[in-house]
Symmetry: C3
């Protein structure tokens, strides 16, 4: 896992004490067992564990209880609470609501009214005072570069590009009207509306030598990062949702959309207008034909087409059969 | 129906007298019967009738002739003219051309060269002198907020957003690079070209607590309004055409496109990359799978998939049959 | 073919002598036969031949050797070299690499770090000192109009529009957040990454009376131009790739994507969300249904639907057969 300092991007409003926590979660709490002096300084995920943090668990995963002493588990599963693995644990009714309450209390982010960022108009673009842009990078006119954003060597950020909550490594080109680091589409589907959107306090990391076309949208992660691997080529109007991980050397043609938490291997080629269901895995060296709808994991070295996407030879056979049938 | 004052958004160039009207329509007129002192102050639709207005009718609908005394009917259907229901009526050759001629004469709008709007650069965004933004709302950098636009309490309008011809209610969040209130795609398909685009003099109304993602486009209505209901969640790169009405609690995933005049009920969930034919109705509590192409009305509580979209169970059966056939 | 002066858009860094050429291509050269005093002043294509230019040939086309005396052929096909048709010819290992080396040496363009353009903030938009905008044209706020761009009479360029490397003729309307003249998606698929993107030194030409919606992306050509014919109507979120040629009176609905080098005839109507494979030809008066995936050339006067797109009657019959089968 790559590291980043969340507080560069999201101002910490306060350190949450155990007492604060119980106070704000209030009736959402069923039971809890937390050391009195526990303090919350960050949020953990299963892949990135931090000391003095909260980890939200919606199922009884196989994680060992080692290294969890300095982490407070919050769960809506009684089983997780009862198995007595964790030193600090809170069992609540609605995990989604707990996330919103806690994260909104600790951090300010661009979907909260208390969010602040100060800009300087520099070469026709608004650059945050708290952005860190290499001198060799070029920022064209009408961009907005937000708080905490890092832009590496020899990057070219073209016109009307918005970059927030992101780390852009070296030699990256981002074309006109693209938005990087936007808010992921996360909410409890039973409680809709912008007031209930899950605060997204992860970032986007774009690795060296990536090319991103025009009018793309790349959402920042909920906790960790959305990642685009080295040397990847992304065409226009591509949507990449929160928590997506894309390997090296990807080629993604125009108008493709990749749903949340999809993981894509190295050297993958994706035709135009392809779509992906959330949370699936695509192996290395995969080719996905244009207009595919990928609904399941795809093995290394596969070539798939259609909706639902299947082996391209099978897909072609099906087409011929369907057309011949009845003639 | 909700109310709005068209003149807040579209400057009225002149009040059209009966004489003016006959003069500008000229050879497009076949017959007419209009009180000499009739004056045109606004445009009506079948759902929003206004005094001293024009109503364009392209077929002999079942509307009663009551309450039409102060309205001038313009039609290209001889039958409508002959049935003698209306006190003020004009029968023309080309209704589309009449619309263009009359509306362009009365109103200035952003597709006409005489359109004007004066802006102040305020906190890094261009805000029209004639916009009305609540003090609690936050407008990020590089936005354009046009004439007549209202933005309610606690709204967050992120970077490079363009809002024109729209009323945004309270607690709405609009993400980067989105365009609201843009020109609907309306024209006589036999007479193409930007000079012949139908002036669109309706607006967009976005109700409380809606969340709209990045790089979306929401077109304003031709006469009344395009409407997004309370608590609706809209992902990135979604297109919503003119006159679309979406109920409360909608959830619309990325890259979906909704064609003109579609009406969608409450609590509807739409997967990514779905498409809709124009003028269809989708009931309440409907779920539309990703990549669907919806071509017909959908009943309440349905779950549909595929193109053309059908009941999802039927769609799955078809898939299995197609794959088994011939094996 | 229409003419344009490449140097208006792309600054020429230097005239390349024969010696320079051999020096920069270096080990990529297999054999060559070039007059010593040959100088490179421009790049040719098979359709636009210029004196003292380079023409890249990846196959042994049937071109006659006439009129090629002042052109240097660069090829990766031994056959082309051996057939001895051309006075000046260079046979290289990797043609793609030759393109990148030569074009990057001669021209500066927006994907190179040495690219420069100077802007004036005029009426709330950044206009290049080297743009040429008719006085009757209206540019709204937050636009960027780049070097060499020409904008004709009575054009309306709405908010946050980016236009670079383009000629816009008269009466064109371009809506909010659209990007014109962006970098085409061209690279050697075996050598990915922004450092290896093929420099695109063509332009976009948009002919009279075209209407382009919001958040569209129209990429400039590699050598010549991407072209949109007179009176064409383009809806929102449409992607048009490099080298595409679209005839007069096109109507293209929202979210359609047209891949590189597609040629579309006159009077073509394309439904929403249609996709096109690269390099295909679509005849005159064709209608392409919404959600089609067009994979092959389409004859004049056809109506097609589906993916792969076929005659719409056949497509409808197939649908019925598939649904009836097994019932």
């Amino acid at each position: 896992m790559l590291n980043f300092n969340r507080r560069n991007f999201f101002k910490m409003n306060k350190v949450l004490s155990c007492k604060d926590l119980i106070n704000i979660l209030d009736k959402n709490i069923i039971k809890h067992q937390i050391l009195d002096n526990f303090e919350i300084l960050d949020i953990s995920s299963l892949t990135t564990k931090k000391n003095n943090s909260v980890l939200f668990l919606d199922k009884d995963t196989n994680i060992s209880h080692n290294n969890f002493d300095s982490i407070l588990i919050i769960t809506n599963e009684e089983k997780v609470f009862l198995n007595n693995k964790f030193k600090n644990i809170l069992y609540c009714k609605n995990l989604n609501e707990s996330w919103n309450t806690i994260v909104n209390e600790i951090y300010s982010h661009e979907d909260s009214l208390n969010y602040k960022d100060e800009f300087i108009l520099s070469n026709n673009s608004y650059i945050s005072k708290d952005a860190n842009i290499d001198k060799s990078a070029k920022i064209f006119s009408n961009c907005v570069i937000g708080k905490g954003v890092e832009i590496g060597k020899n990057c070219i950020i073209k016109n009307n590009v918005v970059i927030k909550n992101s780390i852009i490594k070296d030699n990256v080109i981002i074309c006109d009207n693209t938005s990087i680091g936007t808010t992921g589409f996360g909410f409890d589907t039973n409680k809709r509306g912008s007031s209930f959107i899950n605060p997204q306090i992860g970032i986007v990391i774009i690795d060296d030598n990536v090319h991103i076309g025009s009018s793309c949208t790349i959402d920042r992660a909920k906790i960790d990062y959305t990642y685009i691997g080295k040397n990847s080529m992304i065409d226009n109007l591509v949507h990449i949702a929160h928590n997506v991980i894309i390997g090296e050397n990807a080629c993604i043609a125009a108008q493709t959309g990749i749903s949340g938490s999809v993981v894509i291997g190295n050297n993958v080629t994706i035709g135009g207008k392809a779509g992906f269901a959330g949370h699936i895995k695509v192996g290395d060296n995969v080719v996905i034909a244009a207009l595919s709808g990928v609904t399941k994991n795809i093995k290394d070295n596969s070539i798939v087409a259609g909706f639902p996407a299947i082996d391209i030879k099978e897909w072609k056979k099906n087409l011929i059969r369907q057309r011949n049938y009845g003639h």
